[in-house]
Protein backbone atom coordinates (compact mmCIF):
# COMPACT_ATOMS: atom_id res chain seq x y z
CA UNK A 1 0.00 0.00 0.00
CA UNK A 2 1.28 3.44 -0.92
CA UNK A 3 -0.09 6.75 0.28
CA UNK A 4 0.57 9.60 -2.14
CA UNK A 5 -0.94 12.61 -0.48
CA UNK A 6 -3.37 13.85 2.12
CA UNK A 7 -5.53 17.00 2.20
CA UNK A 8 -7.88 18.66 4.68
CA UNK A 9 -10.52 21.15 3.54
CA UNK A 10 -12.47 23.27 5.99
CA UNK A 11 -16.15 24.17 5.78
CA UNK A 12 -15.28 27.29 3.81
CA UNK A 13 -13.89 25.01 1.06
CA UNK A 14 -10.37 26.21 1.76
CA UNK A 15 -7.48 23.76 1.78
CA UNK A 16 -6.05 24.13 5.29
CA UNK A 17 -3.58 21.28 5.21
CA UNK A 18 -1.80 19.26 2.57
CA UNK A 19 1.00 16.76 2.73
CA UNK A 20 2.58 14.55 0.10
CA UNK A 21 4.63 11.39 0.44
CA UNK A 22 5.70 11.22 -3.18
CA UNK A 23 9.04 9.65 -4.05
CA UNK A 24 11.49 12.26 -5.34
CA UNK A 25 12.30 10.10 -8.36
CA UNK A 26 8.85 10.82 -9.79
CA UNK A 27 9.87 14.42 -10.28
CA UNK A 28 11.73 14.62 -13.61
CA UNK A 29 13.29 18.00 -12.80
CA UNK A 30 15.24 16.66 -9.82
CA UNK A 31 18.07 14.45 -11.01
CA UNK A 32 18.08 12.13 -8.00
CA UNK A 33 17.85 8.41 -8.55
CA UNK A 34 15.26 6.07 -7.07
CA UNK A 35 15.59 7.71 -3.70
CA UNK A 36 13.58 7.20 -0.57
CA UNK A 37 10.19 8.76 -0.24
CA UNK A 38 10.36 12.18 1.31
CA UNK A 39 7.48 13.74 3.09
CA UNK A 40 6.92 17.30 2.06
CA UNK A 41 4.46 19.68 3.53
CA UNK A 42 3.61 22.58 1.33
CA UNK A 43 1.72 25.59 2.39
CA UNK A 44 -1.26 26.52 0.30
CA UNK A 45 -0.61 30.19 0.83
CA UNK A 46 1.36 31.70 -2.03
CA UNK A 47 2.93 34.31 0.25
CA UNK A 48 4.83 31.59 2.03
CA UNK A 49 5.66 29.72 -1.13
CA UNK A 50 9.12 28.26 -0.88
CA UNK A 51 10.43 26.43 -3.95
CA UNK A 52 12.91 24.50 -1.85
CA UNK A 53 10.24 22.72 0.14
CA UNK A 54 7.58 22.47 -2.54
CA UNK A 55 7.97 19.22 -4.40
CA UNK A 56 5.78 20.32 -7.26
CA UNK A 57 4.73 23.88 -7.85
CA UNK A 58 1.24 22.74 -8.73
CA UNK A 59 0.29 21.55 -5.23
CA UNK A 60 -1.95 24.54 -4.60
CA UNK A 61 -3.67 24.00 -7.92
CA UNK A 62 -3.93 20.29 -7.16
CA UNK A 63 -5.79 21.03 -3.96
CA UNK A 64 -8.26 23.21 -5.83
CA UNK A 65 -8.80 20.57 -8.50
CA UNK A 66 -9.25 17.85 -5.89
CA UNK A 67 -11.77 19.92 -4.01
CA UNK A 68 -13.69 20.66 -7.19
CA UNK A 69 -13.84 17.02 -8.18
CA UNK A 70 -14.74 15.80 -4.71
CA UNK A 71 -17.40 18.46 -4.21
CA UNK A 72 -19.10 17.69 -7.53
CA UNK A 73 -19.00 13.95 -6.93
CA UNK A 74 -20.37 14.34 -3.43
CA UNK A 75 -23.31 16.35 -4.75
CA UNK A 76 -23.87 13.83 -7.51
CA UNK A 77 -23.89 10.95 -5.01
CA UNK A 78 -26.29 12.85 -2.73
CA UNK A 79 -28.63 13.50 -5.62
CA UNK A 80 -28.68 9.90 -6.83
CA UNK A 81 -28.33 7.95 -3.60
CA UNK A 82 -30.41 10.12 -1.29
CA UNK A 83 -29.38 12.60 1.39
CA UNK A 84 -28.11 9.88 3.71
CA UNK A 85 -25.74 8.52 1.10
CA UNK A 86 -22.04 9.36 1.39
CA UNK A 87 -19.35 9.45 -1.25
CA UNK A 88 -16.62 7.01 -0.18
CA UNK A 89 -13.97 6.77 -2.87
CA UNK A 90 -13.18 6.72 -6.54
CA UNK A 91 -10.49 4.94 -8.51
CA UNK A 92 -8.74 5.64 -11.79
CA UNK A 93 -6.12 3.52 -13.53
CA UNK A 94 -3.34 5.33 -11.66
CA UNK A 95 -4.58 6.21 -8.20
CA UNK A 96 -7.47 5.99 -5.76
CA UNK A 97 -9.01 8.87 -3.86
CA UNK A 98 -10.62 8.34 -0.46
CA UNK A 99 -13.03 10.79 1.04
CA UNK A 100 -14.39 11.34 4.52
CA UNK A 101 -16.63 14.16 5.64
CA UNK A 102 -17.38 14.98 9.26
CA UNK A 103 -20.65 16.39 10.56
CA UNK A 104 -19.01 19.82 10.76
CA UNK A 105 -18.22 19.71 7.01
CA UNK A 106 -14.53 19.11 7.52
CA UNK A 107 -13.38 17.10 4.53
CA UNK A 108 -10.45 14.71 4.61
CA UNK A 109 -9.06 13.44 1.32
CA UNK A 110 -6.35 10.86 0.76
CA UNK A 111 -4.74 9.70 -2.47
CA UNK A 112 -3.33 6.17 -2.51
CA UNK A 113 -2.40 3.54 -5.05
CA UNK A 114 -5.19 1.62 -6.75
CA UNK A 115 -4.83 -1.65 -4.81
CA UNK A 116 -5.67 -0.06 -1.46
CA UNK A 117 -8.93 -1.08 0.14
CA UNK A 118 -11.29 1.39 1.76
CA UNK A 119 -9.45 3.95 3.88
CA UNK A 120 -12.58 5.42 5.38
CA UNK A 121 -11.80 4.12 8.85
CA UNK A 122 -8.24 5.38 8.55
CA UNK A 123 -9.47 8.88 7.72
CA UNK A 124 -11.91 8.59 10.62
CA UNK A 125 -9.02 7.62 12.91
CA UNK A 126 -7.01 10.61 11.72
CA UNK A 127 -9.95 12.83 12.54
CA UNK A 128 -10.50 11.35 16.01
CA UNK A 129 -6.95 10.72 17.16
CA UNK A 130 -5.04 13.53 15.49
CA UNK A 131 -7.36 16.34 14.45
CA UNK A 132 -9.52 16.40 17.56
CA UNK A 133 -6.64 15.69 19.92
CA UNK A 134 -4.00 18.06 18.58
CA UNK A 135 -5.88 20.75 16.68
CA UNK A 136 -9.33 21.08 18.24
CA UNK A 137 -8.14 20.58 21.83
CA UNK A 138 -5.19 22.91 21.36
CA UNK A 139 -6.04 26.07 23.32
CA UNK A 140 -3.76 28.18 21.12
CA UNK A 141 -5.39 27.02 17.90
CA UNK A 142 -7.97 29.37 16.37
CA UNK A 143 -11.51 28.23 15.61
CA UNK A 144 -11.10 28.93 11.91
CA UNK A 145 -7.88 27.80 10.31
CA UNK A 146 -7.43 30.48 7.70
CA UNK A 147 -4.42 29.63 5.54
CA UNK A 148 -3.74 26.60 7.71
CA UNK A 149 -3.15 28.45 11.00
CA UNK A 150 -3.16 26.09 13.95
CA UNK A 151 -3.15 22.93 11.88
CA UNK A 152 0.50 22.90 11.10
CA UNK A 153 1.63 22.21 14.67
CA UNK A 154 4.38 19.81 15.58
CA UNK A 155 2.27 17.16 17.32
CA UNK A 156 -0.25 16.92 14.50
CA UNK A 157 2.42 16.77 11.79
CA UNK A 158 4.46 14.19 13.66
CA UNK A 159 1.44 12.09 14.56
CA UNK A 160 0.16 12.12 11.00
CA UNK A 161 3.51 11.20 9.50
CA UNK A 162 3.99 8.33 11.96
CA UNK A 163 0.45 7.10 11.46
CA UNK A 164 0.77 7.06 7.67
CA UNK A 165 4.21 5.46 7.74
CA UNK A 166 2.80 2.82 10.04
CA UNK A 167 0.24 1.94 7.39
CA UNK A 168 2.66 1.70 4.49
Amino acid sequence: MVVYSFYIFDRHTECIYSKTWLPTSSDPSSGSGPATATATTTTTNHNHYNPATALRPSTADDAKLIFGAVFSLRNMVRKLGGDDDAFVSYRTAHYKLHYYETASSLRLVMLTDTATLSMRNVLHQIYINLWVEYVVKNPLSPVEHKGGVGVRNELFELGLDQFIRGLI
Binding site: P28, K79, A86, T92, L111
Partner: protein
Protein backbone atom coordinates in the same frame (compact mmCIF):
# COMPACT_ATOMS: atom_id res chain seq x y z
CA UNK B 1 -26.97 -8.53 -7.64
CA UNK B 2 -28.71 -5.57 -9.16
CA UNK B 3 -27.95 -3.21 -11.98
CA UNK B 4 -29.73 0.07 -11.27
CA UNK B 5 -29.23 2.21 -14.35
CA UNK B 6 -27.20 2.92 -17.47
CA UNK B 7 -26.15 6.32 -18.76
CA UNK B 8 -24.27 7.00 -21.99
CA UNK B 9 -22.48 10.33 -22.40
CA UNK B 10 -21.10 11.44 -25.76
CA UNK B 11 -17.63 12.89 -26.19
CA UNK B 12 -18.90 16.43 -25.76
CA UNK B 13 -20.48 15.68 -22.39
CA UNK B 14 -24.05 15.42 -23.63
CA UNK B 15 -26.45 12.79 -22.38
CA UNK B 16 -27.38 10.44 -25.22
CA UNK B 17 -28.90 7.49 -23.37
CA UNK B 18 -30.45 7.10 -19.97
CA UNK B 19 -32.34 4.10 -18.68
CA UNK B 20 -33.33 2.83 -15.25
CA UNK B 21 -33.60 -0.93 -14.80
CA UNK B 22 -34.45 -1.21 -11.13
CA UNK B 23 -36.84 1.03 -9.24
CA UNK B 24 -35.79 2.03 -5.76
CA UNK B 25 -32.05 1.68 -6.29
CA UNK B 26 -31.41 5.31 -7.10
CA UNK B 27 -33.43 8.40 -6.41
CA UNK B 28 -35.76 9.45 -9.19
CA UNK B 29 -34.45 12.60 -10.79
CA UNK B 30 -35.79 14.52 -13.77
CA UNK B 31 -34.36 14.27 -17.27
CA UNK B 32 -33.08 17.80 -16.88
CA UNK B 33 -31.13 16.75 -13.78
CA UNK B 34 -29.73 13.80 -15.70
CA UNK B 35 -28.48 16.19 -18.37
CA UNK B 36 -26.82 18.34 -15.71
CA UNK B 37 -25.35 15.23 -14.10
CA UNK B 38 -23.89 14.07 -17.41
CA UNK B 39 -22.26 17.44 -18.01
CA UNK B 40 -20.91 17.62 -14.47
CA UNK B 41 -19.50 14.14 -14.63
CA UNK B 42 -17.83 14.91 -17.95
CA UNK B 43 -15.96 17.78 -16.31
CA UNK B 44 -15.06 15.84 -13.18
CA UNK B 45 -13.79 12.99 -15.32
CA UNK B 46 -11.37 15.36 -17.04
CA UNK B 47 -10.14 16.67 -13.68
CA UNK B 48 -9.59 13.20 -12.24
CA UNK B 49 -7.45 12.32 -15.26
CA UNK B 50 -5.24 15.33 -14.58
CA UNK B 51 -4.80 14.63 -10.87
CA UNK B 52 -2.47 11.67 -11.31
CA UNK B 53 0.03 12.06 -8.44
CA UNK B 54 2.75 9.96 -10.07
CA UNK B 55 3.19 11.69 -13.41
CA UNK B 56 3.88 15.32 -14.13
CA UNK B 57 1.05 17.36 -15.55
CA UNK B 58 0.47 17.33 -19.29
CA UNK B 59 0.64 21.10 -19.22
CA UNK B 60 3.98 21.05 -17.40
CA UNK B 61 5.38 18.52 -19.78
CA UNK B 62 4.65 20.57 -22.87
CA UNK B 63 6.33 23.60 -21.32
CA UNK B 64 9.60 21.80 -20.69
CA UNK B 65 12.04 20.53 -23.26
CA UNK B 66 11.61 16.95 -22.01
CA UNK B 67 8.46 16.61 -24.14
CA UNK B 68 10.48 16.46 -27.32
CA UNK B 69 12.15 13.13 -27.78
CA UNK B 70 15.27 12.30 -29.78
CA UNK B 71 15.48 14.25 -33.01
CA UNK B 72 13.10 16.90 -31.73
CA UNK B 73 10.11 14.64 -32.25
CA UNK B 74 7.23 15.17 -29.90
CA UNK B 75 6.52 12.08 -27.88
CA UNK B 76 2.94 10.93 -27.91
CA UNK B 77 1.29 11.50 -24.55
CA UNK B 78 -0.18 8.52 -22.79
CA UNK B 79 -3.92 8.14 -23.24
CA UNK B 80 -5.62 9.89 -20.34
CA UNK B 81 -7.49 7.77 -17.88
CA UNK B 82 -10.02 9.35 -15.63
CA UNK B 83 -12.39 8.01 -13.04
CA UNK B 84 -13.18 4.30 -13.44
CA UNK B 85 -15.05 3.24 -10.33
CA UNK B 86 -16.92 5.42 -7.87
CA UNK B 87 -18.11 3.99 -4.58
CA UNK B 88 -20.68 5.38 -2.21
CA UNK B 89 -22.61 3.84 0.65
CA UNK B 90 -25.70 3.09 -1.45
CA UNK B 91 -24.36 2.35 -4.91
CA UNK B 92 -21.32 1.74 -7.04
CA UNK B 93 -20.71 3.38 -10.40
CA UNK B 94 -18.48 1.93 -13.07
CA UNK B 95 -17.32 4.20 -15.87
CA UNK B 96 -16.00 2.91 -19.15
CA UNK B 97 -14.54 5.35 -21.67
CA UNK B 98 -14.21 4.20 -25.27
CA UNK B 99 -11.26 5.30 -27.39
CA UNK B 100 -13.54 7.79 -29.10
CA UNK B 101 -14.49 9.40 -25.80
CA UNK B 102 -17.97 7.98 -25.27
CA UNK B 103 -18.60 7.24 -21.58
CA UNK B 104 -20.74 4.39 -20.28
CA UNK B 105 -21.85 4.75 -16.68
CA UNK B 106 -23.29 1.66 -15.06
CA UNK B 107 -24.88 2.08 -11.64
CA UNK B 108 -25.05 -1.11 -9.57
CA UNK B 109 -25.50 -2.02 -5.95
CA UNK B 110 -22.27 -1.78 -3.90
CA UNK B 111 -21.71 -5.53 -3.78
CA UNK B 112 -22.16 -6.27 -7.48
CA UNK B 113 -19.31 -8.36 -8.89
CA UNK B 114 -18.08 -8.68 -12.46
CA UNK B 115 -19.26 -5.27 -13.56
CA UNK B 116 -16.44 -5.26 -16.11
CA UNK B 117 -18.06 -8.19 -17.87
CA UNK B 118 -21.49 -6.57 -17.87
CA UNK B 119 -19.96 -3.35 -19.18
CA UNK B 120 -18.25 -5.26 -21.95
CA UNK B 121 -21.55 -6.82 -23.02
CA UNK B 122 -23.31 -3.46 -22.94
CA UNK B 123 -20.57 -1.99 -25.11
CA UNK B 124 -20.85 -4.93 -27.52
CA UNK B 125 -24.57 -4.26 -27.81
CA UNK B 126 -23.92 -0.57 -28.37
CA UNK B 127 -21.54 -1.31 -31.24
CA UNK B 128 -23.86 -3.95 -32.71
CA UNK B 129 -27.24 -2.27 -32.44
CA UNK B 130 -26.44 1.44 -32.30
CA UNK B 131 -23.27 2.01 -34.30
CA UNK B 132 -24.34 -0.41 -37.02
CA UNK B 133 -27.77 1.17 -37.27
CA UNK B 134 -27.68 3.16 -40.54
CA UNK B 135 -30.24 5.64 -39.22
CA UNK B 136 -28.28 6.53 -36.09
CA UNK B 137 -26.62 9.94 -36.19
CA UNK B 138 -23.36 10.20 -34.28
CA UNK B 139 -23.42 12.20 -31.03
CA UNK B 140 -27.22 12.26 -31.04
CA UNK B 141 -29.54 10.61 -28.51
CA UNK B 142 -29.78 6.84 -28.94
CA UNK B 143 -33.23 5.78 -30.12
CA UNK B 144 -32.77 2.24 -31.36
CA UNK B 145 -35.50 -0.32 -30.63
CA UNK B 146 -33.19 -3.26 -31.08
CA UNK B 147 -30.67 -1.87 -28.56
CA UNK B 148 -33.43 -1.17 -26.04
CA UNK B 149 -34.82 -4.67 -26.30
CA UNK B 150 -31.54 -6.58 -26.19
CA UNK B 151 -30.21 -4.45 -23.34
CA UNK B 152 -33.45 -4.84 -21.41
CA UNK B 153 -33.46 -8.60 -21.64
CA UNK B 154 -29.75 -8.87 -20.77
CA UNK B 155 -30.03 -6.70 -17.67
CA UNK B 156 -33.25 -8.41 -16.59
CA UNK B 157 -31.40 -11.70 -16.73
CA UNK B 158 -28.67 -10.30 -14.42
CA UNK B 159 -31.13 -8.72 -12.00
CA UNK B 160 -33.14 -11.94 -11.69
CA UNK B 161 -30.11 -14.10 -11.10
Amino acid sequence: MTVFALIIINKAGGLIYNRTFHEGGLNKISTNDYLVLAGTFHGVHAITARLNPLKPRVGNRSSTSSSSGPGGLLTRPEPPSGLEVLESENFRMQCFTTLTGVKFLLFTDPTQANVDLTMRRVYDMYTDYVMKNPFYQLEMPVRCDMFDRKLGSYIREINNR
